[in-house]
Symmetry: C2
Subunit: 175 residues, 2 copies
DNA sequence: TCCAAACCCTTGGATGTCCTAGTATATTGC
DNA sequence: GCAATATACTAGGACATCCAAGGGTTTGGA
């Protein structure tokens, strides 16, 4: 990890924006830049925890998704939709997970176009272990206050819905 | 863009987490996953706006950084530190920007190890144009309410400081 | 019935990020 | 003053993401 900078580079950028006549968009610019940087920091922490398992975050997400599927299997296109990544990214992840013996591909029983990805026994075990590690080493000490976590879930939930990610109006806080 | 899902996959994941005995970390997990997805959406929007300019976000960030430097030039290691990316990522970006004629490399006047990256006239023009496009097409319609933008800047500012990004306690709201 | 359109997955290519290692230059300490 | 250590940049490799294009399978309308 590099040494801390003396000043916040994003706050500096915000000032530069304002000084250049973009005062009305300086704040959203700063917020978006902060999201980018935060994502980078969090992803690095996650990858660091997953490395001993021989997993990356992309592959872990697929394992976790499969572990919550009723039968431990999903069509590739379904996984792509739920993970919200390009189909080729799923192909890539499945290739590597299959080489590691954590998932297997099988033909869809009724649709010849579709391929199912299924968790192996080792895959299910790996998903459990990796999940425990992530919860214990990352999520339980995220660095966000409880209130802020709720803020983030709400703000980004609205954002993602408006961005076209999903249609429902489900609100966990009302359960 | 894919069609919207009927349900929010992150809210579903949060429920699965709770059902599996990870109730205490389900919320931070959901918040972090939402940050990842939001970053992906925003990056796609930004790349989309920059594409006509032949720029990517990584290259744009370097151009913007240089455009705010007093002399339009910075040592590579300085750029790496301020952009908070690996030195090799800067090398990569400079290689491509140099091929496009937007920046030039030059030796540091007193330190033989250091290379300066400097904006060309075309580079400065490009930075201005791309910045205007991003402000008009992305930042001015970020999809976040003004209040939420302030929340995000505050929350992620604290997070980044605690993560070791920078040392100051600068708070824009007190200016 | 049958062919065009739609859908599913994969291959190949472009980019970005990081890590590791190697080369060159500066700085430090004895 | 010189060797050891630190610093700066780059080359090569592993992965991830997306896009474009191609081949196989289904579906749907004439």
């Amino acid at each position: 990890m590099a040494n801390p900078l003396p000043r916040d580079p994003i706050a500096d950028a915000q000032r530069n924006w304002e000084r250049s006549g973009w005062g009305n968009t300086a704040a959203p610019m700063a917020a978006i830049t902060a999201i980018m940087r935060t994502q980078q920091i969090l992803l690095a922490r996650i990858e660091n925890v997953l490395k001993p398992f021989g997993l990356t975050f992309a592959r872990y997400e697929l394992l976790a998704l499969l572990s919550f599927a009723r039968t431990g299997a999903l069509p590739m296109n379904k996984a792509s939709a739920l993970l919200q990544v390009h189909p080729t990214s799923v192909t890539n992840a499945v290739d590597r997970l299959e080489k590691s013996g954590l998932v297997v591909r099988s033909p869809h029983p009724t649709d010849g176009r579709t391929t199912l990805v299924e968790l192996t026994t080792e895959g299910r075990t790996m998903a459990k272990r990796a999940t425990a590690a992530l919860n214990n080493e990352v999520f339980s000490q995220s660095g966000f206050a409880d209130d802020d976590v709720e803020h983030l879930i709400r703000i980004f939930g609205s954002f993602r819905r408006r961005a076209g990610d999903f249609n429902d109006v489900d609100d966990l806080s009302t359960r």
